[in-house]
């Protein structure tokens, strides 16, 4: 990740200020503002990866972005309602999309071009071309091209099929219909015919055909709601605005004209910059004025807009790119061995060519006459050398020829096998029922196909908290109103039960038996009520139920007490001070309608639902007013002003004109920012009490918000209004002006209270963390939450235990950070050097808690080293209040200093940087949109799936892949060596006794299928054992299945086996009348049988498929050899039938197999029996272990991993 994109992350995520980096950002900004051409820094610098870093914060930033002159060179001029003129000078992309890569004509060249991007194919190609030179033609032309052709064909067919599917979906997409203004009336036009500049009308629930700037909507204030599920996966509604200037116009009758100067198409779905010129007025357009292709219009009858980006230039299409490509650790370390093999290959070739050179020298005088060399050609009138190019060239040609003959020493087929195996592994991961999330009905997704095996080697897990460890389903838990704590709900079993019930729909609630309700009441002093509003005949009911504290409910009804008024205002604030849009949903019962609160923040949703439960139901919201049903009485509040949440203020406010003509500003925000604007002189006691309660709440892991209110005098209001108008129409620096206006009004607030929202832990999280810990994986939690909240979640998720020594680093300066790091290191050194990894005897576990501010001073400075030293001593690290970029920084801290594999898991846009930084990135497809998923390598529904993913699939994948790589090295090398030994007996000319076709088919057909089958299917241990003994995962972390030692041992074994397979027939037939073809057949069959039995020896689980593959391969080889020997035009015609009749053939074949594999067998038995290998012991336990104990663990596992699904 380069530094530019780091800056961008910071800019796009204003929730987390980061002093060091923001200063650098600032410098860039000031540089650009100095110039006249005010290009948007962040987005123009972004480059193609920009969108991954985008976060929701960008929207508010972009919205308030100041008016910027877009330079004509960078602008795209769109004449509204004049597509001809718009497309006159520049031909903008039409709206037809083509996700298909190829057309019928371009398929062949383009596909080939793309395929040859792989080095492996180039190698193939070079070898094949070399072989076409007449001097070097070792193999027949057909035989040499076949492997390459085969691979190319398979890939091409795969690509063609995928492309066909894309073409088909393109066609469907392109022929959808949209209403376009043609000659002053709207006509239906196919999507592909829409042009930039045209005016388009979209009706409710329709999908947008292109990116368009809103001109007007059915709502008089110009609001439109869109759902962006197709774009970023967020299912909530977003508000978009038409500018008042165009909203007024009746577009169908009066011909609108104007000019939009917009930025060039880019991928940032949260940014848009444009100016519009209508009727001589300059209007600036921001991201809230554009609706993007792929979104759906909701809750708005119709909307009219002008197309600005079409087809491939739409943001949706620009974002339509594949998953990032990473290379697996195994593949990287495999390269080292590939280099060894290349050296080995060169050495073999050098040996052959040197020996050949010596041979030629020694027989120099004889070459002319020698019957088997015959250097001189007498057929021509003049005697000339026949195919002899001089000694040096002969040696050189022999070298090249030996490269061709020994080419498969570099196991190119391995790359193809690996891809196939990964596809197979991905298939099983996707289909695994254990990783299927019923709640969101989402399967496991493999987005990156080439790092499956990395899952078996993870050492560090970096986890986000909200939405990853927790469900990100906020539940209003309790409140402190006017200093009084209303938190009667105690934690416990019943609590979660209620929680579950609360999430059900109203119909489910009514089914609860009265006895159950009583029980709930008696234990928890709280009831679940479904608050009904009867408006005429209609009954309105909030979609979600919230458990209600009866005491608070009663208080809220006593309007005239002081307390009651407080409560009243508090809930009014909850209902009003937000950006939630209420939607009414029809239910089967026509008299009942459900209200669904749509909003971008789950916290706000929870608060509004809570307010509704207490009788303050938000019924309607437009840009001008809101209607709240206050305990049965509908009240209309005018929304006079709204200051959106921004990261500097960390609060939002709304100015309401109440029905009683009072004007009040309600402010809601984070405690730190709120306490500074609350009037301390007024209710110091209340303030103190609230502060204590907030402390308690956050220590329980609740998320708190403080709410304040102030009544405005009409003078004050007018002052605000005028300054607001100035600020909101300002052309320069609008964002900061608006912020200033907001700050001016948000002060001297009276405190109303504080709310506490629970973010429930996901199912199975503590168990999962425990499993990961015993597996020797360090789990680090990186969260944006407060320290207290983070620690409490740490406890509830079993991350922190009471036995642990906690080191808290919480500093404000570089110096103090250094000091506390040094102190902490001293503390950690004083503790006995206990081994980590969850050993029971280890008494001194260390937990490090560090906050974002300290990290600011530590990361990117010399203190990093100390932090790393400290962190690696700690069992648990908890980082709180961290910015997205810091998350990536922490991952990088580990990644750059150790070889250990890192995994980052998160669900939100703020986790994107970390997901991309880590070796393996996992996205949780949860509540917070799809950006994390889009950036991830794997995506899944729940955190706990990490356990089966890593411990089971990761382990399997790693073992399978490691074995497959080693086996492929061995398999190809043994064949090459077999050829090499023979070359030594042919006066170092590259004759192969084995036929060309068998040589080529060897790695393609004779031995490839079993390795792939074993690579996909073989399991060293069952799922149950792997989950029971998490520690078995350590094998992957210690790289036990693939390492240099294993490679060399394998190569030694290979050497012996090649000697056995070559010299047994050689010596058995030495000096006999055997012919080359027959002996070649024996060698070919011998090596194939040996190699397959070698594989069979290592298979741990024999499925019928495995049997079929291994024995089938041997049989297929026999069939192929027979078939080749039945071709009368080959020299080896009928050779197989001659040699197979002799007993000596079979005697040799069995001697080869047994003799070659006996040492391997002995070593294997010895290592298995005395090596005390954990996997081996667990495997034995699986087979012979106590069956009673075995079933018990199965039940236990079910408890943890298969909790009853809702």
């Amino acid at each position: 990740m380069d530094y530019h994109s780091q800056i961008d992350i910071n800019e796009n995520s204003p929730q987390f200020p980061d002093p060091i980096r923001s200063s650098s950002t600032h410098s860039i900004q000031s540089k650009t503002t100095g110039g006249h051409s005010l290009r948007e820094v962040s987005f123009s610098e972004l480059g193609p990866t920009s969108v991954r870093h985008g976060s929701r914060g960008a929207e508010s930033e972009g919205f308030s972005a100041s008016y910027k002159e877009i330079h004509d060179d960078d602008a795209r001029l769109i004449y509204i309602n004049d597509p001809d003129k718009t497309n006159d000078k520049f031909e903008f992309a039409g709206n037809s999309i083509r996700t298909g890569k190829y057309s019928v004509l371009t398929f062949l060249p383009r596909n080939l071009f793309e395929q040859f991007h792989r080095v492996a194919y180039i190698y193939f190609l070079v070898i094949a071309i070399l072989n076409q030179l007449p001097q070097l033609a070792v193999f027949g032309r057909g035989a040499s091209i076949m492997p390459l052709a085969f691979v190319l064909l398979v890939t091409a067919v795969k690509d063609a099929y995928e492309d066909y599917r894309r073409h088909r979906s393109d066609k469907i997409e392109n022929s959808r219909l949209a209403w376009v203004l043609v000659d002053e009336s709207f006509q239906q036009v196919r999507w592909k015919d829409i042009r930039v500049g045209e005016i388009i009308r979209v009706c409710a629930d329709e999908t947008l055909p292109c990116d368009m700037v809103l001109l007007s909507t059915s709502d008089s204030t110009g609001v439109a709601y869109v759902q962006t599920t197709n774009l970023d996966g967020e299912s909530n509604l977003k508000t978009r605005y038409a500018k008042q200037e165009t909203q007024m116009k009746n577009l169908e009758n009066e011909r609108i004209s104007g000019l939009i100067k917009s930025e060039k198409p880019n991928r940032n779905i949260y940014g848009f910059q444009a100016n519009m010129e209508v009727d001589g007025k300059h209007i600036s357009l921001g991201p809230s004025n554009i609706i993007l292709r792929g979104c759906e219009l909701k809750n708005t009858e119709w909307t009219i807009g002008v197309a600005v980006f079409a087809g491939r230039e739409t943001k949706a299409m620009l974002n339509n790119s594949g998953a990032p490509s990473k290379r697996s650790r195994l593949e990287t370390s495999m390269n080292r061995e590939i280099i060894f093999l290349s050296i080995f290959l060169c050495a073999l070739c050098a040996i052959v060519s040197v020996l050949h050179g010596i041979w030629l020298r020694r027989h120099k005088g004889e070459l002319d006459l020698m019957q088997f060399y015959r250097k001189i050609d007498y057929s021509e009138a003049e005697e000339a050398d026949y195919n002899y190019y001089g000694w040096g060239m002969e040696v050189f040609f022999v070298f090249l020829m030996s490269v061709i003959v020994f080419q498969i020493m570099i196991p190119i087929s391995l790359y193809i096998s690996m891809e196939l195996v990964r596809v197979g592994q991905a298939f099983f991961m996707i289909r695994d029922n254990m990783m299927y999330d019923e709640a969101s009905s989402s399967r496991f997704q493999c987005r990156a196909l080439n790092i499956n095996e990395d899952l078996g080697q993870i050492k560090y897990v970096f986890s986000d908290k909200t939405g990853t460890l927790t469900e990100n389903k906020m539940e209003f838990q309790c409140a402190c109103i006017g200093g009084i704590d209303y938190s009667s709900v105690k934690g416990g079993v019943e609590d979660s039960q209620i929680g579950n019930l609360g999430r059900d729909t109203a119909t489910a609630i009514s089914l609860i038996s009265s006895s159950h309700k009583l029980k709930v009441v008696s234990t928890c002093k709280s009831i679940i009520i479904s608050y009904l509003v009867t408006g005429g005949e209609q009954v309105l009911r909030p979609k979600m139920k919230v458990k209600v504290d009866p005491e608070l409910l009663n208080t809220s009804k006593r309007k005239h007490t002081n307390e009651g008024r407080h409560v009243h205002d508090f809930f009014l604030a909850l209902a009003a001070c937000n950006t939630i849009v209420p939607l009414t949903i029809e239910t089967p019962d026509p008299a009942v309608k459900l209200i669904d609160y749509q909003g971008e923040s789950p916290d706000e949703q929870a608060l509004v639902y809570a307010a509704a439960a207490y009788g303050f139901m938000l019924v309607e919201r437009t840009s001008g007013h809101i209607v709240i049903d206050v305990q049965g009485e509908r009240q209309r509040f005018n929304v006079l002003g709204l200051h959106e949440f921004d990261s500097d203020r960390k609060r939002m406010s709304v100015i309401l004109g109440c029905p009683d003509k009072a004007i009040k500003v309600f402010v809601k925000g984070a405690d730190t920012s709120m306490f500074s604007v609350i009037d301390r002189s007024q209710n110091l006691n209340v303030l103190k009490a609230t502060e204590t309660h907030i402390q308690t709440y956050s220590s329980k892991g609740l998320r708190t918000l403080v709410i304040g209110v102030r009544e405005l005098s009409s003078l004050e209001f007018e002052q605000w209004q005028s300054s607001y108008e100035v600020a909101s129409t300002a052309l320069m620096g609008r964002a900061s002006l608006l912020r200033k206006v907001a700050n001016n009004i948000e002060h001297h607030l009276g405190i109303l209270g504080a709310s506490a929202i629970e973010d429930k832990l996901q199912q199975g999280v503590p168990e999962a963390i425990e499993s990961l810990r015993t597996a020797g994986i360090k789990v680090w939690v990186l969260t944006g939450d407060k320290q207290e909240t983070a620690i409490s979640i740490g406890y509830s998720s079993k991350l922190l235990t009471s036995k642990m020594t906690q080191i808290v680093i919480n500093n404000n300066s570089h110096e103090s950070c250094r000091k506390s790091l040094i102190e902490a290191l001293v503390v950690s050194k004083k503790l006995p050097d206990a081994p980590s990894g969850g050993s029971k005897n280890c008494k001194h576990q260390l937990g490090l808690i560090i906050d974002g501010t300290s990290l600011v001073y530590i990361l990117d400075s010399e203190l990093e080293e100390q932090l790393f030293e400290l962190a690696s001593k700690c069992d648990v690290v908890l980082c709180c209040r961290v910015a997205p970029l810091q998350k990536a920084g922490i991952v990088a801290l580990i990644k750059s200093r150790t070889d250990d594999m890192t995994l980052a898991i998160g669900d939100g846009a703020n986790d994107v940087s970390m997901i991309q930084m880590a070796d393996v990135g996992i996205g949780i497809s949860g509540q917070e949109g799809r950006q994390a998923v889009m950036a991830s390598d794997f995506a899944m529904g729940q955190f706990r799936f990490l356990v089966p993913l890593l411990l089971v699939h990761g382990h399997w994948n790693y073992n399978r892949m490691s074995y497959m790589i080693l086996y492929n090295f061995y398999r190809n090398a043994v064949f090459v060596l077999l050829l090499f030994w023979y070359v030594l007996f042919t006066s170092y000319t590259l004759t192969t006794a084995i036929t060309d076709w068998s040589s080529v088919l060897y790695s393609v057909l004779y031995t490839s299928v079993p390795t792939i089958i074993v690579g996909v299917l073989d399991k060293d241990l069952s799922r149950t054992s792997l989950l029971k003994h998490s520690q078995l995962y350590g094998a992957g972390q210690r790289q036990e299945s693939y390492n240099g030692k294993l490679f060399w041992v394998t190569m030694l074994d290979m050497l012996w086996q090649s000697v056995a397979v070559f010299f047994v027939p050689l010596l058995a037939y030495w000096g006999s009348n055997v012919d080359g073809s027959s002996l070649g057949d024996l060698w070919a069959l011998g090596v194939v049988v040996m190699v397959n039995i070698h594989l069979a020896m290592d298979v741990t689980r024999w499925y019928w498929i495995t049997h079929a593959a291994i024995w089938g391969s041997i049989i297929a080889t026999f069939i192929c050899v027979i078939a080749i020997d039945m071709l009368p035009f080959l020299p080896g015609y009928w050779a197989f039938f001659h040699i197979v009749k002799t007993e000596l053939f079979w005697v040799c074949l069995s001697l080869i197999t047994i003799g070659a594999l006996l040492p391997r067998f002995a070593v294997k038995v010895f290592v298995q029996y005395f090596g005390h290998n954990d996997i081996q012991i667990a495997r034995e336990a699986e087979k012979f272990g106590n069956s009673r104990r075995y079933t018990q663990t199965q039940i236990e596992m079910h408890q943890i991993f298969d909790l009853p699904q809702r």
Binding site: R165, R166, S169, E173, N320, E366, L369, Q371, F372, Y373, R374, I376, Y378, S379, E380, A381, Y386, F427, R431, N433, S441, S987, T989, L990, T991, K1019, R1023, Q1031, L1066, L1067, W1070, G1071, S1072, N1073, V1074, D1075, G1076, T1100, R1101, W1102, Y1103, P1128, F1129, Y1133, W1134, E1143, L1144, L1151, I1154, G1155, F1161, V1165, Y1169, F1170, D1174, I1177, E1180, E1182, F1184, G1185
Partner: protein
């Protein structure tokens, strides 16, 4: 976009359960238990040692007479190559030897060449299989160079270095002054006679060049009857090889004196090759070769030794299989 195809549908995407997709197919999980290991090793020993003994005895039963004649059938001059190349000289050479043991019929007569690389790349490739079978393909000589066509462009049939270098020493055997019939019929493979060397192809322009490589062929006999050529064109795998010259269909008694009249025509002197005449019986393991027997004994013996070693280890250092206390994390860390 295509990846999101299903998301709009509210159908459960739960993967359908099958034992295959959950990787729960029934499987056999062989474990190398001590009993199994010792069993396998002992079985190997028990099978291999008898086979080895059988092979040794078979090799022992082969009676073989090898007589190198290239060095003695030539005047001891420095002009060996000149001698052999001169068509005018008399190259007849008479050798005698005694049969050491009774040889049962059929007795095979081989010629053995040493240091002749019939597997040399240039040599192996220099042939045209099409030409041998198809009378119309006599011009497909592109692979046969430099013995593809005569100087004036006529095709050589059979072309190529292999045919050109046809072995042309002849042997006539006599026992006690009575001629011993050598049957030269059916010495080549039946498949070659019926499917590779055509009865309709006759030798043409063969061995007409300036450089004579070896034997000549009777142009009136079709290739399908030129069995010496067929035998020769089955190129040998190794630089030391025997080729069948003929069969003697009578038993040869021990101590019988055999006289061989050799026409020493073939030039092996230019590359220091050796020529040997071999008279041998055959058994199931082919000719005389102790290697297979010894190897079988060695492998069988090793298996038994390993089996014994493992038995002893299992007895003196037993480890209960699948005992969880052997798992590394269950062991007492103090012992680590």
């Amino acid at each position: 976009m295509s990846s999101d195809d299903g998301s709009s549908k509210k159908v459960s995407k739960k993967p359908r359960y099958s034992r295959f997709t959950q990787q729960e197919l029934p499987a056999c999980k062989p474990i190398l238990t001590p009993a199994l290991v010792i069993g396998i090793l002992m079985c190997l020993g028990i099978i291999f040692i008898p086979i080895g003994l059988l092979a040794l005895s078979a090799s022992e039963n082969v009676v073989e007479v090898v007589d190198r004649y290239d060095d003695v059938c030539i005047p001891s001059t420095d002009q060996k190559v000149g001698f052999i190349k001169d068509p005018a000289t008399n190259k007849t050479c008479i050798r005698t030897f005694t049969i050491p043991k009774k040889m049962r019929k059929p007795v095979y007569v081989y010629y053995q060449l040493d240091n002749f690389y019939q597997n040399h790349r240039r040599y192996v490739k220099s042939r045209s299989d099409r030409q041998l079978w198809n009378p119309k393909a006599e011009y497909s000589t592109s692979l046969c160079d430099p013995e593809g066509q005569t100087g004036d462009g006529k095709p050589i049939v059979p072309c190529g270095l292999i045919a050109w270098s046809l072995f042309n020493d002849t042997y006539s055997l006599s026992k006690n002054d009575a001629a011993l019939q050598i049957n030269k019929k059916d010495i080549a493979w039946r498949s070659d006679r019926t499917h590779k060397f055509s009865p309709n192809v006759y030798p043409k322009n063969f061995q007409n060049g300036t450089l004579i490589g070896g034997g000549k062929l009777d142009e009136n006999i079709p290739l399908s009857q030129q069995e010496d050529l067929m035998v020769w064109m089955r190129t040998s795998a190794l630089p030391t090889f025997r080729k069948l010259y003929g069969k003697i269909e009578t038993d040869l008694e021990a101590n019988e004196k055999i006289t061989v009249t050799i026409q020493n025509n073939y030039n092996t002197y230019s590359f220091n090759g050796k020529k040997k005449l071999v008279i041998s019986t055959a058994t199931w393991i082919g000719g005389k070769n102790d290697f297979i027997g010894k190897m079988y004994m060695a492998v069988g013996g090793t298996s038994i030794v390993l089996g014994v070693i493992f038995s002893l280890l299992y007895v003196f250092k037993p480890r209960p299989l699948g005992d969880p206390s052997y798992l590394s994390w269950n062991k007492n860390p103090a012992l680590d």
